[in-house]
Symmetry: C2
Subunit: 231 residues, 2 copies
DNA sequence: TCCGGAGTTTGTTTCAGAGCAACGTTTGGT
DNA sequence: ACCAAACGTTGCTCTGAAACAAACTCCGGA
C-alpha cells in the first residue's frame, strides 16, 4: 500500500474545507490501490460495496449490451469521485470501470458514505455537484448521439478528451491517456474502420496527429468547426 | 390555486416518513400550478430557481441542439421530483420540461432544498435514489442509441413508455399520455417517417394499435422480442 | 359547414456508413 | 531476434434509413 499523504486530499474539492484531523480520519479508513492499464476496478452489476476517488491516472466507464457491444459512457480524471452508486442507494454498479492508463485510486466501504456526508462539511454539496455535472454531460452526449452525424460525434469526442485531459505541447493538445480507434468508436457508437478513415483524413489536413494509442490535436479550432458546435 | 391536501404528499416516497405537521409546513411553502398540454414548465439554460414535484399528468424532458433538433431525454410520471438542478448546485436547468398532457405540479424555491434535506428524514435519501435511477436510465438509453438499430430503439421506447405509464385495457397496454410519431422520433433519434412506417407494419402484425397521438401495445411480448432484450 | 393546420401515410431516391476482407505495422514477450 | 498478438489502414460492396415529395385524414375553430 503506497504511503498516503494529507496533501493528496486537501487540494480536492470534496475535502478542501476540512481540518487536517478530519483528513487523517478519512485516510485512515481508505484503501489505496494501484491498477494497471486495462485492469477493472469494478464491474457492472456487482455489489456496490465501495465508493472511490481517483488519485492518479484515467478511467473509462463502460457499459456492455446483452449483444456484447461495449460503449464508453464517460472518462474519469484524477481528483474525481467515482463508483458512487452507494450514495444513490443503488445495490449494484450500473457500469464497469477500467483503467485507461496506470492509475491509483482510494476507496471506502459504502457504509461510510452517510458518515462522510454528515461529518464533513461541503462533502455532500461537492459530490452532488459532480453528479449534476456528470448527468448534464451524459445528456449532452445522448443528444449528440441522437442528432449528429458520425464525423461530428468523433470530433466532439476528441474535443471532450482534449478538454478533460489535454496537455499543451509544442505540436498541440495531447490527450493524456492511451486511446485506440476502437475506443473512440465505443465512445461514438460507430466502427473502428470509420474512425480510422476519419483520423487519417484529418491527419492529412493537419487537424490531428496520431500514432497508435496516442493522439495530439494540432488544430483545435478547426476541430471545433468540424464538430459543428456554434456559439 | 387548487386546494392542497395532506394526502397528496403523504403517499409519495420522499415524504412518506414525515409527520402531518411537517407535511403541512411543506405544503405551506409550495406553489401549485396547472399546465396545459404543450405548456413549458421551465426552459433549458434558464435560472434554476425552483424545484418541482409532479402531482398529476406527464412531462417530457427535452434538449434542443444548436441546430434546432430536439430530443426527448426522459419522461416524468406523477409522484416524481423534477427540475432538481438546484440540488445539484447547477445555476441553470440543463433541459426543458414540457407537459405531455394536462399536468399539475408543485414547486418550491431552490433555496429551500438544503432545509428539506436537513429537516425531513428520508427526503435526501429518496431524492438521490431517484437521481440514481434516472442516471442509470439515461446511461441505458445512451447505450441503446449507440449500439442498436432504429427498429430496436423504437421498440424499446414504446416498452419504456408502456412500463412507465401503461394502463392495462382490454386491447393491451395503453400509453397514458399523447404521443406523436414525431415525439417517438425525438426519443430515438430518427425521423417521423421511419417511425410511421414501422408503426404501420407493427399494426399490421398486431403488435401495436395506434391512432393519432394514442398508442396501445397489443402484444407486449412480441414487442420485447423486437426490442432485442434478452434475459 | 367549411377551412386550415397539425399529424400521418406512402412512394421514390440517395448516400453515409456498416460489414466484410485483406493486408500492413507496431509492440512486447520469450 | 523472432514471433504472435494487438492495433491500424484501405478498398469494395451493400443496405438501412435519411431526404425529398406528395397526398391524405383528422380535428378544432370561425
Amino acid at each position: 500500500m503506497p504511503k498516503l499523504d494529507q496533501s493528496l486530499l486537501s487540494g480536492l474539492p470534496p475535502f478542501s474545507l476540512l481540518q487536517p484531523q478530519q483528513i487523517r480520519e478519512i485516510l485512515d479508513h481508505a484503501v489505496s490501490r494501484r491498477y494497471e492499464e486495462g485492469a477493472t476496478i469494478f464491474r457492472e452489476g456487482h455489489d456496490a460495496d465501495r465508493f472511490y476517488l481517483l488519485l492518479d491516472g484515467y478511467l473509462r466507464v463502460v457499459r456492455t449490451t446483452p449483444g456484447g457491444d461495449q460503449i464508453i459512457v464517460l472518462h474519469i480524471s484524477p481528483g474525481q469521485l467515482f463508483g458512487i452508486a452507494p450514495a444513490l442507494q443503488r445495490a449494484t454498479y450500473p457500469a464497469t470501470s477500467i483503467a485507461a492508463a496506470e492509475s491509483i485510486a482510494l476507496s471506502w466501504p459504502a457504509g461510510l458514505w452517510p458518515e462522510f456526508v454528515s461529518s464533513y462539511p461541503g462533502f455532500a454539496t461537492e459530490s452532488y455537484k459532480t453528479l449534476g455535472q456528470r448527468l448534464g454531460q451524459i445528456q449532452e452526449t445522448l443528444t449528440e448521439m441522437a442528432t449528429q452525424a458520425v464525423e461530428k460525434r468523433i470530433a466532439c469526442a476528441l474535443l471532450r478528451m482534449a478538454n478533460q485531459s489535454g496537455r499543451k505541447t509544442a505540436e498541440g493538445i495531447e490527450i493524456a491517456f492511451p486511446v485506440t480507434r476502437q475506443n473512440i468508436s465505443e465512445m461514438t457508437g460507430t466502427t473502428l474502420h470509420t474512425v480510422s478513415r476519419l483520423l487519417s483524413a484529418w491527419q492529412k489536413d493537419g487537424v490531428v496527429q496520431s500514432t497508435r494509442k496516442h493522439i495530439v490535436v494540432t488544430d483545435p479550432h478547426r476541430l471545433v468547426i468540424l464538430s459543428g458546435i456554434q456559439s
